[in-house]
């Protein structure tokens, strides 16, 4: 098969797998949240509802239809953006999500812009001199950061920077983007706390990818010819490690999702993850469903990008 065709084939296969997974996830989410919790109409109207009112509400919510029909109806709503009304305050779910999504994207974007350069730089530096003091210190530090819970880093950051040093507010009730100073004041702590684990992941994976390339025979050859130090790593090894590094970046960024759930709770940040956690505690199922699907979609996109980047950067995979 010609390489171009093989690439298209691979992309199609990967996208199909992602779509299939998303469909399976949607089925699982629907099954878990629609079928298990019992009667939604009863939950909405409360215990004093008359049977007639219950029946009427069930009919208007299509609860009298079989589950398979309701699933297709629900899936259609997900695709077209009509994702129902919140059970708690009766506002359209799309409106609730729409008001939170920009904040979450801002947080994720700021964290990405902060983490990627630092993580890459640290990873490349420690791969240049493995077993050096710098490498050992960063290894232990990143291992510890990955091992401890996210809320430990978050609460420690609040105690040090918000309470003791009083540099930043401890809560982010509304992220401010009207001024540069307001942006930094409201976003620094959440971004910092979210960044720890992501920087650590990027650094470790970049280091591993580079070291793997540095062990190859052609690098040994270059070394024997007298290429050493930064030149060897940057111009000989790095180009061949770009695929695995891009893969690692996408995988590390998927930690943003889980991290955001914790960090948005610590800082009371008005984002999507906080919306999801609140929806779970009030058992507001339409909201839980929509938020979960959005998170899974983002996670799948990152995972697929990681695979595609890894594949495109490897000529041998590309050709096979």
């Amino acid at each position: 098969m010609r390489p171009a065709l093989a690439v298209t084939g691979f992309l199609l296969k990967r996208l199909l797998f992602a779509a299939g997974t998303l469909l399976a996830v949607s089925l699982a989410v629907f099954a878990a949240t629609e079928i298990l919790p019992g009667d939604v109409a009863g939950a909405v109207l409360g215990q004093s509802a008359t049977p007639e009112a219950l029946a009427a509400l069930r009919a208007s919510m299509h609860l009298d239809l079989p589950a398979s029909v309701r699933y297709l109806h629900w899936l259609g709503g997900m695709v077209t953006g009509d994702v129902g009304h919140s059970l708690v305050n009766n506002r359209p779910v799309s409106e609730l999500i729409g008001s939170r999504l920009p904040n979450s994207l801002l947080l994720a974007g700021a964290a990405t812009a902060f983490c990627v350069p630092i993580g890459l730089l640290l990873g490349i530096c420690s791969a240049m001199r493995p077993t050096s003091v710098f490498d050992r210190v960063t290894s232990v530090a990143t291992l510890s950061i990955v091992a401890v819970p996210e809320f430990f880093i978050g609460t420690l950051a609040v105690l040090v920077f918000a309470v003791n040093l009083r540099w930043f507010p401890a809560l982010t009730l509304s992220p401010r983007i009207d001024s540069v100073e307001g942006f930094f004041r409201s976003m620094t702590l959440p971004v910092l706390s979210l960044s720890g684990i992501i920087i650590a992941q990027i650094m470790r994976m970049t280091r591993a990818a580079l070291l793997d390339v540095l062990r190859r025979p052609y690098v040994e050859m270059a070394r024997l010819k007298g290429v050493v130090g930064a030149r060897l790593v940057l111009f000989y090894a790095l180009p061949n490690a770009l695929g695995p590094i891009a893969n690692a970046l996408a995988l590390s960024l998927s930690h943003l999702l889980g991290g955001a759930i914790i960090i948005e709770t610590i800082f009371n940040f008005p984002g999507l993850a906080k919306l999801l956690v609140d929806a779970v505690s009030t058992r507001d199922m339409p909201l839980v469903q929509a938020c979960t699907m959005l998170f899974c979609l983002a996670y799948l996109i990152l995972g697929t990008l990681a695979d595609i980047a890894g594949m495109l950067a490897n000529p041998r995979l590309r050709a096979s």
């Binding site: 989410v29 298990l36 199922m285 996670y299």
Partner: protein, 283 residues
């Protein structure tokens, strides 16, 4: 006895020296993990004050003798609550780990030993389950089933089945290709026998290390859920929920939220150190 001796060579894939020195960091890990395990068993009996008793009417009290780590939001002794909370933190996580490793390991051995479409179907299913972020999975499960300790254990167990499955399967496939497994097959041994007696004993080393890491994941997941208020419910408290209830005190500089989080950190780092420095583990 003689039959054990005859079978012995089949159970040893690579001969390792009997004793390998454990590095210092490994000992640190062992001590820390052993400490918290003892706490998980005896902690509730050893507390200086009853975990639920209000001893400081003001709350968020300072660190003084007799109340070494200060008091929490309701004026309870933080040290006592951390000691008692070891059980609610470690217990469910161990149960979830065992569940995940049991289900994942059994399925993986079956997939490796049977092969064919069963292997493909199981592997694909696991790939799909693993493509959901674990905390998100936990949130949906709690939304659907409500919060209770059995639900939490089963949820965390199911979440970490695919990870255990992948490791076990990749190891088991290698062992499955060994001559002695083929011999057992030719001998006409049944599938359960091959899984249990031929493949399983040769996986134990690496699989134990994997158990440790899966335990860390389970601890982090369960305490994260507790931190969100969707895990262990009052009056029981694990370390995650203790961080949550003491979070407001942070603004007044009360460290009551930091100590349980730090306890969690020592436990997870301790297990990591232990696993990384297990004797005979490739580094």
């Amino acid at each position: 006895m003689s039959s054990t001796v005859e079978r012995e060579p089949a159970h040893v894939v690579i001969k390792r020296p009997r004793r390998m020195p454990i590095p210092l960091l490994g000992w640190v890990g062992i001590v820390v993990v052993a400490f918290w395990l003892i706490m998980a068993v005896f902690g509730p009996m050893l507390t200086p004050h009853p975990a639920g008793e209000v001893i400081d009417p003001d709350g968020f009290g300072p660190m003084v003798p007799g109340m070494w780590l200060g008091s929490d939001v309701l004026g309870r002794d933080v040290l006592s609550r951390i000691m008692a909370g070891a059980q609610t933190t470690v217990g469910p996580a161990i149960a979830a780990t065992l569940l995940a490793v049991f289900i994942g390991g059994t399925l993986a051995l079956a997939a490796a030993a049977v092969g064919g479409w069963i292997d493909t179907a199981l592997s694909r299913t696991m790939d799909a389950v693993i493509s959901v972020p674990s905390l998100l999975f936990g949130l949906v499960a709690v939304a659907a089933l409500g919060v209770s300790v059995p639900v939490l254990i089963c949820t965390a167990g199911v979440i970490y089945v695919p990870g255990a499955f992948r490791i076990w399967r990749s190891l088991a496939v290698n062992v499955n290709a060994m001559d002695y497994v083929s011999v057992a097959r030719e001998r006409g041994e049944g599938m359960p026998y091959i899984m249990r007696r031929e493949i399983l004993p040769n996986l134990l080393g690496p699989v134990l290390a994997d158990c440790g890491l899966r335990f860390v994941f389970a601890v982090l997941l369960l305490s994260s859920l507790s931190f969100l208020g969707l895990g262990i419910q009052p009056p029981d408290a694990d370390w995650g929920s203790m961080v949550r209830e003491n979070l407001p005190g942070l603004i007044y500089g009360a460290p009551a939220a930091i100590f349980p989080a730090a306890a969690l950190a020592t436990l997870t780092i301790g297990v990591n150190l232990l696993v990384d420095n297990l004797p005979g583990r490739e580094r």
